[in-house]
Symmetry: C2
């Protein structure tokens, strides 16, 4: 079985200048890997004829699929079209479908076409054109000696649609790639080493399945991968998934590439539960994450960010006695905060955080990173103490994730 290889060529001076991060390459790499076509080279070059031709030559000598982004706009500094003609030794032609697409695109937006737009229909004489469903510049496809070239615009939204809607299927068929089966299990609340220890006995029984543990600040992703069209092996993958799901049930948040705030939002929506939050440590981040999800106004009632002791007392009813005796950063304060916000807004659920996000604010007994997170669902509650690190933004993120996750588990009684 031949292992096919892919190369990405990113054209653009704004990437070379460090003004734009090359996330296009990241997206394409992920997508190609998901169909069993690993990217072996990413080359970023400037928008100059000689550079482009040289990079295409190098790619032709080593890669089966070559995906090029950038340099296909109508402006005069886009020299990619000229370089394509030079490299493939073809001329330019006017493409009727592309012109129609450009005019249609402008029409729906009420924009008058200019000469520059007309120029976009003038394309190198390629083997196939993939239309741009969300913009004007199309994708040009060439095949030479079983090497497949795709020239796409650099606008991420346009490029992504071309890859997802057309190029992946095209390459699967033309290269007759072996199907890739992947399983993603997104966990939170358990360190990578502990998770690995817990699951190792199961994993050892499935050596034929590739396993990866991918740690993020907010949790660990487990990925299983099987490149095969053998149905027995596919059943084995399903067996592995079932066993892991049962063993790590408590920690598995989702099997989709979505974030915890969306998982919790869907749970609240489905169960018709309302939520309020009281934040000190996380400073509004929990509310911000929750309200990033469209439709969150259905379940999110209100949030209180109580940075001062006064606001903790007056808004949440935390007692002066508690603050004096245990301090604002204490299990007791977290508890009174979560109870206070829940009863104030009469919500089914509530979350609270209090702690020392750093870098300043530590005391003799309370170090930076100390944090108490509480969650309440109806009359059940859970409060946990955390010891995060010294980086403020990471601390806020970890505290926010802990709050969302504690509530999720409380609702699911895990």
């Amino acid at each position: 079985m031949k292992q096919f290889k892919a190369e990405i060529i990113s054209i653009g001076d704004e990437v070379l200048a460090g003004y734009t991060v090359n996330t296009n390459a990241t997206f394409i790499s992920q997508q190609l890997l998901s169909i069993g076509l690993p990217v072996q080279w990413v080359s970023t070059i400037s928008d100059r004829n000689g550079e482009i031709v040289q990079a295409l030559k190098t790619a032709l000598g080593r890669a089966d699929a070559i995906l090029v982004t950038g340099g296909l706009g109508p402006t005069p500094d886009d020299l990619t079209k000229k370089a394509i003609c030079d490299f493939f030794k073809v001329g330019m032609r006017r493409d009727a479908d592309t012109l129609e697409n450009v005019l249609q695109f402008l029409k729906t937006r009420g924009i008058k076409p200019t000469d520059l737009n007309q120029a976009q229909a003038l394309i190198p004489d390629c083997d196939m054109v993939i239309p741009n469903s969300v913009g004007t510049a199309p994708c040009l496809v060439f095949e030479r000696d079983k090497h497949h070239f795709f020239f796409m615009p650099g606008v991420p939204g346009e490029m992504k649609r071309m890859v997802s809607d057309h190029i992946l299927d095209y390459l699967k068929q033309r290269l007759a790639l072996t199907p890739v089966h992947t399983v993603l299990l997104r966990t939170t609340g358990i360190p990578e080493s502990k998770l690995y220890e817990k699951l190792k006995p199961i994993l050892d029984d499935f050596p034929e399945i590739q396993t990866a543990f991918l740690p993020r600040y907010i949790g660990v992703d487990i990925r299983f991968k099987l490149i095969s069209d053998d149905s027995k092996k596919i059943i084995r993958l399903q067996e592995l998934e079932t066993k892991i799901r049962s063993k790590a049930k408590k920690y598995i948040v989702t099997d989709k590439p979505i974030e915890l705030e969306q998982v919790l939002g869907e749970l609240l929506h489905k169960k018709r539960l309302s939520l309020s939050v009281a934040e000190s440590f996380t400073g509004g981040l929990i509310a911000d994450l929750i309200t990033n999800i469209p439709g969150s106004s259905d379940y999110f009632t209100a949030g209180l960010i109580t940075y001062s002791n006064d606001s903790k007392m007056h808004l949440l009813g935390v007692s002066e006695q508690t603050l004096k005796q245990f301090g604002a950063v204490s299990r007791e304060t977290a508890q009174e905060m979560v109870r206070g916000v829940q009863s104030r807004f009469g919500t089914d659920c509530a979350i609270s955080t209090t702690g020392i996000a750093g870098p300043g604010g530590a005391t003799a007994t309370k170090p930076v990173g100390l944090c108490y997170v509480a969650a309440r669902f109806k009359n059940r509650e859970i409060i946990k103490e955390f010891h995060f690190g010294t980086e403020r933004l990471i601390n806020k993120k970890r505290g926010a994730i802990a709050g969302l996750e504690l509530l999720r588990r409380l609702i699911l009684e895990q």
Copy 2:
């Protein structure tokens, strides 16, 4: 004057797999450009001997400075050291300073050295070693025929220190680079086209100075650049800066690469002013941004996220009459919100937002993206109506920036 060129080689399968975004290359590109040494090529390759040697050969043929990241850890899958030896035809040597640095590093963290750590002191016989001030793997420097090679670990924090503290100065000296003078003026609250129109008459008088307008969601950066050691030209750059500052005073937030929430935070801190916020449209993002700044607890008192009408009435004292007559998304509600939160917490300053963040929630008269933002400083206030787009997260960001910026201008009476 020779135009020197740089190349970045990123080694690492996790970048090729699309699991890690190559922000290392972005950082290095920015830094090298700032000393007048543009990056012309970024090559990402896998951690294999043949690939590494081939990439080094290609780079030797075209670049004056070659910065390599990744593959210098102690683990067996880091083949970079072997490839370096092969390419430069040198052997390995035990480096006493590196061993000392590794042992010292582990000691301060209370970690016992392992054989793997000992192996880190075994390095290719390079021309110079730059120690790692925040980790264990050092930077290896080679010079061949006036081409300068730097091999660094891929850990961003370690690589950045090596570049900033050593490599930039090294290259400035060894390549005798012409000094680069840059000015950054970070604006907000004015579209790129209007800003350009306003400043064009001034810019036209300074054709010798490179000007760039760099739009971001939250504002437009103006950058001036002069590559010269001619003191007359440097004075001209200062003249240009003075004229632009005076013409665009209202919109210029800072001349440092910092964000608006930090600028506002410093202003509040300096003037000993307190702040509270009432957020609907922005859902906690304003509070989150403000509390990202260390020390914000000095001036940030509290934030209320009032998603429901009930919470707007009970927490902020917005009148039922106002909500009925004008609706929750209205100038009147924004005004009562900002007054309500200011008086509730007795703060010097206050910000409020209300609107339709989308994608749902539009009514016959109120489209997605409609947003009212209010700011109050003592008894002065300003309320503005915005028409943002349809993307929820971008809308939240724009609304938050508008709130911070309105308050900043109000305090400065601009």
